[in-house]
Subunit: 228 residues, 2 copies
Amino acid sequence: MRDRPHSVARAGRPPAAASLDLVCLSAERHRLVVLVDAPSTPRAALALPWQALDPAVGLDLAAGRLARERLGRAPAWIESLGAFGDNRRHPSASALSVAYVAVLPMGSAAPAGMQWVDVQALGPLAPRQDAMLRAAATALRERMDLVPIAFRMLPAEFTLSELQEMYELLLGRRLHKASFRRALQGAYLVEPTESWRSEGRGRPAQLFRYAPRRRRGTRRSVRFELLQ
Amino acid sequence: MRDRPHSVARAGRPPAAASLDLVCLSAERHRLVVLVDAPSTPRAALALPWQALDPAVGLDLAAGRLARERLGRAPAWIESLGAFGDNRRHPSASALSVAYVAVLPMGSAAPAGMQWVDVQALGPLAPRQDAMLRAAATALRERMDLVPIAFRMLPAEFTLSELQEMYELLLGRRLHKASFRRALQGAYLVEPTESWRSEGRGRPAQLFRYAPRRRRGTRRSVRFELLQ
DNA sequence: GTAATTAGTATCGCTTTGTTACTAAAGTCA
DNA sequence: TGACTTTAGTAACAAAGCGATACTAATTAC
């Protein structure tokens, strides 16, 4: 077994001052999945990938490196999730953790030594990492209006039904097909490709790609209905 | 001069592993203001309030205490802003900082030894604290749809014109009076009081208070227009 | 008194949105 | 082959939302 960062704490050396954790999310068959280290024994506790925080390296840079190292590729999107340190246990035994949230397109294979796990049916996670996971899921939902997260969780070419299903997965509710497409068209965010995909039964679907175009900034009224 | 947390670094002792910083925002005459330590000399650099992070205390708890200590009262709203550590200088000389953002109602007096400063016309701030301030202003704008931030930046009783001006200040654009009030009424967020306020010229305005009522969850369509 | 100023509302027309219903193109199965 | 099912995609209508203009109301300034 390779010498993983875990061993810093496991070996009994003084725990690092802080850890850097990665919540990497993706989708699989209408389920939100998170990337965890494959447990060495079937009953071992699961853990999000993490490493000791190197004070000499900037956070964004260190998080990007951690992601590329563990994923074998750059994530489709990564952003700071925040600091976590409310006395909840963490595999590093550190008092403080800095977490980043990242996404991969659905269907990405799990890197060696890791696996995708349904966030709904997730085994025991250290309490602080559990808080990170819940914060990450909330962050995806709250930021998908501002950042093209749903598009990043799809392959480069996708059908509009896949896009709508991704939105439904992240929002946790059903959307209306005609309204969804009308709003999407009005936003000039996608462009059609020449390809069509036939997926078993039914009419083939046209493939689109994310290609946002400059459009008139139509600032809308204030939304009060999400408050409280 | 009292022994401020600053002296931890200034005295030449080993810098703390991390700092805990507070970006406390409020409003003054259509300007967003931030609370800074009053400089000892007129040309000294300004600094956001901060202290060395105690690893034994949870982050939310420590931030709440720091706020109450420095403000002399609990803030009207406080929330984690994130971790900052990208090699930018910080008064603590620490490699890592955890920041919280808080708001006080407009018109709150600055505590002793501190002052409100217009965020637009702000003197030199340590680069990392400058990044926190910009992140805090962005966080207010992006989260005011989900959290009643504008209401927390007003006194308990306020006029609808004051509320609209607060929204305009945070959003950075003008809003339409009739539309604003129609949307507000439809959301059942405020209730009128018996009081009216006469503010110099013009017709007196009725005072309202924030009193959100249970309302039918009218989930709306997806917003694509803020993307990219 | 009249004018100016701010608060608050009514109404109109346009846009956005939800719904129902439709057409299109594929597979399934008798 | 042809009826049925399934999924993709669109049309059309009604209802709701929204922006603009214009109005009334209550106060101060003169």
